[in-house]
């Protein structure tokens, strides 16, 4: 049959309904399949739809619902008769052009994978690089502001105010200053002891180092404490706080972007973040250990006692429940092994006299915690 011949309207018992896209009025129509689809309603101007403009719209089974790109966007023609629907379908060559095809899905998958790969590469290589380069460039006042905020929090958690016993403080300052000079840090850094029984120590942005009283109680010699302090100074020297902040911020943002959740709350994001960040943190810890070893050597002391102190703590605590110094750190026994290897006979003067060490142990007063 030729395209120009106008067929006798192949209408059927099942009605064909037309919505003109302007009103919700249901119009019973008949169709004429000429060189364009003609929609005829009794007593109204016929509407012509060019076959090339006709697109399929979503419809339930048993209904062919059509739209036209040149008609009002919501105009719909609903054909319920199967034979008529087949007739019309055969003439509309571009009926399904706008639907997502198999190729379309392949494209989505392909580009998503490409996006994922590039995000993973940036997380693994780009963000660490950016963190390393950017951290030293963060202006000191900014760093200090962040540090101040962290300090207020830490003091809320770990108690009241810094321990102030004058003799103990003098000994502590002496120890810190010797380490600081050996580390080549400027005198903007501060250090203090917080009165809490948690055995830990940490460095905050803006050159703040805190030793918790619990660690001091477990330490048996100045060298043990000095090694830990040197480790924390290593964090300051390497800008580890700012690096970590940039790195963690960057990775959580990117991983969140990947899984489509910028707040980063879901379990996947949490798991992948912890995984990536723990490895980054372990690297930083190893670097800080290296730094501590170098400082202790420079002072003519052995780094081994510090590792023994750590081991004593993890041993007693069962390797869990500790926050800063041990979690996401290298294994304590590995660290002990490493520092034992670096053990050299003592060549420098003791860092503190016995009297100073006793004063330092009592910096928070006695039995107040």
């Amino acid at each position: 049959m030729s395209d120009v011949s106008i067929e006798a309207p192949a209408q059927s018992k099942k009605p064909t309904i037309f919505f003109d896209g302007v009103s919700s009025r249901k119009r019973q129509v008949t169709l004429t399949l000429g060189d364009a689809l003609e929609i005829v309603e009794e007593g109204a101007e016929p509407v012509r739809w060019a076959y090339a403009d006709i697109r399929r719209a979503d419809s339930p089974a048993g209904v062919l619902r059509l739209a036209s790109t040149s008609a009002p966007p919501l105009a719909r023609l609903e054909i319920r008769d199967a034979a008529l629907a087949a007739d019309v379908t055969a003439r509309c060559m571009r009926l399904d052009e706008h639907q997502t095809s198999r190729r379309g899905i392949a494209k989505i998958v392909g580009w998503s994978v490409a996006a994922a790969v590039s995000i993973v590469c940036v997380v693994l290589f780009g963000v660490p690089l950016a963190a390393d380069r950017l951290a030293p460039l963060v202006p000191k006042p900014v760093e200090r502001r962040i540090g101040d905020a962290a300090e207020v929090q830490m003091k809320t958690i770990f108690g009241r105010s810094v321990c102030e016993d004058p003799a103990g403080k003098a000994a502590f300052t002496k120890l810190v200053n010797r380490l600081r000079d050996a580390a080549g840090l400027d005198d903007t850094m501060t250090a203090g002891v917080l009165p809490t029984s948690v055995p830990n120590a940490f460095a905050l942005p803006g050159g703040k180092v805190f030793v918790l009283k619990g660690l001091l109680d477990k330490a048996q010699s100045p060298d043990e404490l000095a090694g830990i302090l040197a480790h924390e100074l290593g964090h300051l020297k390497h800008y580890d706080n700012m690096r970590g902040l940039i790195y963690n911020g960057g990775t959580s943002f990117l991983i969140g972007l990947l899984f489509g959740d910028v707040t980063g709350s879901s379990a996947v994001i949490f798991a992948s973040r912890s995984l990536v960040e723990a490895s980054y943190s372990r690297e930083a810890e190893t670097a800080a250990d290296t730094f501590a070893i170098d400082i202790m050597h420079a002072l003519g002391r052995s780094p081994k006692p510090a590792a023994e102190l750590m081991f004593r703590i993890t041993g007693k605590e069962g390797g869990s429940g500790l926050t800063n110094i041990l979690a996401s750190h290298p294994l304590t026994e590995d660290r002990l092994a490493r520092m034992t290897k670096e053990d050299r006979p003592v060549s420098g003067p003791p860092l503190l006299t016995d009297k100073e060490w006793q004063a330092l142990k009592g910096i928070c007063g006695s039995g107040k915690i």
Partner: protein
């Protein structure tokens, strides 16, 4: 509309009201299941990017198989719009997060944990997103060649939601029915179908009377936790029914006979699947652990020590795969039961009164952007 007639009362007997029409849902369950299964797989290989397409497909399926007065609805939204909305939302949210971070530091300097209330700002933003996402979905909902649409302001809605939220918080949840009524009134009064305007006639007191004992008994569910799904199902069913009963659009009104126990089966099926899948996951992790321990020849504590990252990599990979499979399966279960089945269950109880009022409605209203959906996606909030 009937009582607005010009004819003087009594001059002509009023025609008896037409019987209410039903809403039919004709969607094929296995078709839906196949669609979400395929969608979940694609979501996995695309790292979640496929969600825009899957969500669109789900809505298209549900909308087109829902027929009111014999005419099926249509969802005209497309995934690309959602993707663009998400990207725009990202562009707006990122600086906000940065600002949040910086302001947070200043607050913390002043007082530890003072920045926690800042989180409230995000909650407000989430409410805004819920409103705007609803607007997007409605403007993509078409019935008889005319679309639904919304006006009103997302921020005005957010403000109301926050104020009512505070009241609910202060009254330990007792004010919840009034909050829902007020918010729904705001949403429905700004909802339109062509030139018809919506309204919400449900009031808080009715809802309160239907559900107050659930509020009283909720502490019991905390102790006897197998009761919790029953309570929740009761609450949801009562809420749905109250909500549907209150909906008006022009002269058209809805009512529902949703039984109070309608959702028991659904929730228990989800819990059953959840338990089954968790047990399979547990067994799988157990098996993988044994295998790794056997192969490495180390004692278990050492392989899974807190810092032993490198040596437990095979274990980690096995866990990640298992986790994804679990998440995938749960996703399918949730979508089939809590989206499709719940939809069908609710719709089969709905009656539409005076549908003739919507017989000749002039189309109007503009399409809304998908920005709201993007925010909702970015902030992880959902609502209707």
């Amino acid at each position: 509309m009937n009582d607005m007639q010009w004819a003087p009362i009594g001059s002509e007997p009023l025609p008896p009201p037409l019987p209410p029409t039903r809403v039919d849902f004709t969607g094929n369950r296995s078709e839906f299941r196949k669609m979400v299964t395929k969608g979940a797989m694609l979501e996995l290989v695309t790292f979640g990017f496929y969600r825009f397409w899957l969500v669109t497909d789900i809505r298209r399926h549900l909308w087109t198989h829902t027929a009111v007065d014999d005419d099926a609805a249509e969802y005209t939204g497309r995934a690309k719009e959602l993707l663009i909305g998400f990207l725009i939302a990202l562009a707006i949210l990122v600086p906000i997060y940065l600002a949040y971070f910086l302001v947070g530091i200043e607050f913390e300097r002043w007082q530890a944990f003072a920045s926690v209330p800042l989180f409230v700002a995000f909650y407000a933003f989430g409410q805004f997103a819920i409103f705007r996402a609803r607007r997007y979905r409605l403007t993509r909902t078409v019935w008889r060649g005319v679309r639904f649409w919304m006006d009103g302001s997302g921020w005005a809605y957010s403000f109301r939601a926050m104020a009512w939220g505070l009241l609910v918080f202060l009254t330990l949840g007792l004010a919840l029915p009034w909050r829902e009524a007020a918010l729904e009134r705001y949403k429905m009064q700004h909802t339109h179908y062509g030139d018809l305007t919506g309204d919400f006639e449900g009031d808080g007191w009715t809802f309160f009377k239907r559900g107050w004992w659930l509020w009283l008994l909720s502490p019991v569910a905390l102790v006897i936790f197998p009761l919790a799904p029953f309570f929740y199902a009761e609450f949801r069913a009562r809420e749905w029914r109250w909500w549907l009963d209150g909906i008006r659009i022009g002269g058209v009104s809805l009512s529902s006979e949703l039984p109070h126990n309608a959702f028991y089966g659904l929730y228990w099926k989800v819990i059953g699947w959840w338990t089954l899948l968790s047990m399979i996951f547990g067994a799988y992790i157990g098996g993988a652990t044994m295998l790794v321990v056997q192969l490495s020849g180390l004692p278990a504590e050492q392989v899974f020590g807190p810092e032993n990252g490198a040596k437990s990599i095979p274990m980690l990979v096995a866990m990640v795969i298992g986790y994804f499979a679990l998440a995938l399966a749960l996703n399918i279960v949730m979508r089939v039961y809590l989206q499709r089945d719940l939809w069908a269950k609710v719709l089969e109880t709905v009656e539409v009164h005076n549908i003739a009022a919507a017989a000749d409605v002039r189309g109007s209203g503009e399409l809304a952007s998908a920005l709201g959906e993007g925010f909702a996606d970015g902030l992880d909030v959902a609502g209707f």
